[in-house]
Amino acid sequence: MSHAEHHISSIKMLSIVFGGLVFLTVATVLTAQLDLGGLNVPLAMAIAVTKASLVVVIFMALKWDNKVNAVIFGIGLLFVAVFISFTLLDTLFRGDLSNTTEGTIQDQTLEEEALKSREPDAAALEFNQIPQ
């Protein structure tokens, strides 16, 4: 029955990966202090994905594991992606037709108040008027 010996990761390799993970953690904390404009979020996520991949591939030994397990893990991630992206299809496009408004009533009130405090005369926003 037995076809292959179980893979044994060497201490050296595990140590190198651990070192890399610590390095990436320090890197993500430091880069987050810089103002990179729109790049901060993608960079932090890229580092997180790299770290997670190292843990999955080496520490969890998925590289040497049965392929089925990799497929299972991949399917799990795929469905997280489905959950996120399909929900965003709604929340990012809320109010794209006139049957719903984009913002909440609370947001509109806040906006009105902000306008009023800045320029009392400009606050003639009708209650019924829904900003599109």
């Binding site: 037709l97 049957n99 719903t100 909440t104």
Partner: protein, 308 residues
């Protein structure tokens, strides 16, 4: 009524109701034809290939690739056609014309409130002019509700803290049923109202007549329409206690104490219904009525006071 309708769908009373119906009937008849075909084939095979010889072991049938693909391709084309058609109608149903007459609709447990730009508010009846697009800007003051007029084929959820809207253009005058179709509590099924479709002239005169100032008791009587679901004025017990003749009496409460029914108590019961609950009743009255203006509250108190 006018919306009893024929078999299956009620009569179409809005401009796009006919389009929805055409689509409905197309899918309905296509489905019926396919369904009858499947059932007929099933019944035929059942009897034609009935086991007559216990030893018979039929050989597998070689599947025809052409037939298999036809089963996939034809329905795919059919549903794509239906999808595009449905999408087209949906877009128009959800895009109100810019010149539509606007009415603000508020849903609350368990009443509808229709507020017109002219400062008029109604509760059990929504008047709209015929042949003119009407857009309802809706929100809920407590939980989810859903505004549904079968005759117009419109439906839209009312979400608290958010405006949603429907629009329609009525094609005939008459009265049509409004339902709440999102479950909203004890009296969900009683959260009904009517759309009254009238001619442009009638609508104009109705709105002028309504916008005059009313004496407090009459204003209260009008507002009471939204209370009448739970509170009777003829002594019968509904979801809540009857309100006639209670002014000035002592009311027993669930905590064993009793309280004098005066203006303050009535007002408190409207604003904070859960604090003092009449004996024998559940504390289910919603707090959603606290949003009324002081003038409206005064009117309501005056009306309840006047009930004998």
């Amino acid at each position: 009524m006018g919306d009893k309708g024929v078999f299956w769908l009620p009569d179409a009373m809005s401009t796009f109701a006919g389009e929805v119906d055409a689509l409905f009937w197309f899918v309905f008849w296509t489905s019926t034809v396919l369904f009858v075909a499947v059932v007929a084939a099933k019944l035929y095979f059942m009897f034609r290939y009935k086991r007559r010889d216990e030893t018979s072991v039929p050989d597998p049938v070689h599947e025809s690739k052409l037939l298999e693909s036809a089963w996939i391709v034809v329905p795919t084309l059919l549903v794509l056609f239906v999808f595009i058609w449905g999408f087209d109608v949906y877009l128009r149903m959800n895009t109100a014309p810019p010149d539509a007459y606007e009415i603000t609709v508020r849903g609350k447990q368990w009443a509808w409130e229709f507020e017109y730009a002219e400062g008029v508010t109604t509760f059990t009846e929504m008047y709209v002019p015929v042949g003119r697009p009407v857009k309802l800007v809706m929100s809920s003051s407590d939980v989810l509700h859903s505004f549904f007029v079968p005759a117009f084929r419109v439906k839209q959820d009312l979400v608290p803290n958010r405006y949603s809207s429907v629009w329609f253009e009525a094609t005939q005058t008459g009265e049509f049923q409004i339902y709440c179709t999102e479950y909203c509590g004890t009296a969900h099924s009683a959260m009904l109202a009517k759309v009254v479709v009238v001619s442009e002239e009638e609508f104009a005169s109705w709105i002028t007549e309504q916008s005059q100032d009313l004496p407090p008791v009459e204003l209260g009587a009008q507002l009471f329409a939204q209370c009448a679901l739970c509170h009777a004025v003829d002594g019968t017990t509904k979801i809540g206690p009857a309100l006639n003749g209670i002014f000035g009496t002592q009311q027993k409460l669930t905590d064993g104490t009793s309280v004098l029914v005066d203006e303050d108590f009535i007002l408190e019961s409207i604003l904070n219904p859960a604090i003092k609950v009449a004996e024998g009743f559940q504390p289910i009255m919603p707090a959603g009525y606290s949003g009324m203006t002081p003038k409206q509250l005064d009117g309501l108190v005056a009306y309840i006071k006047s009930l004998k």
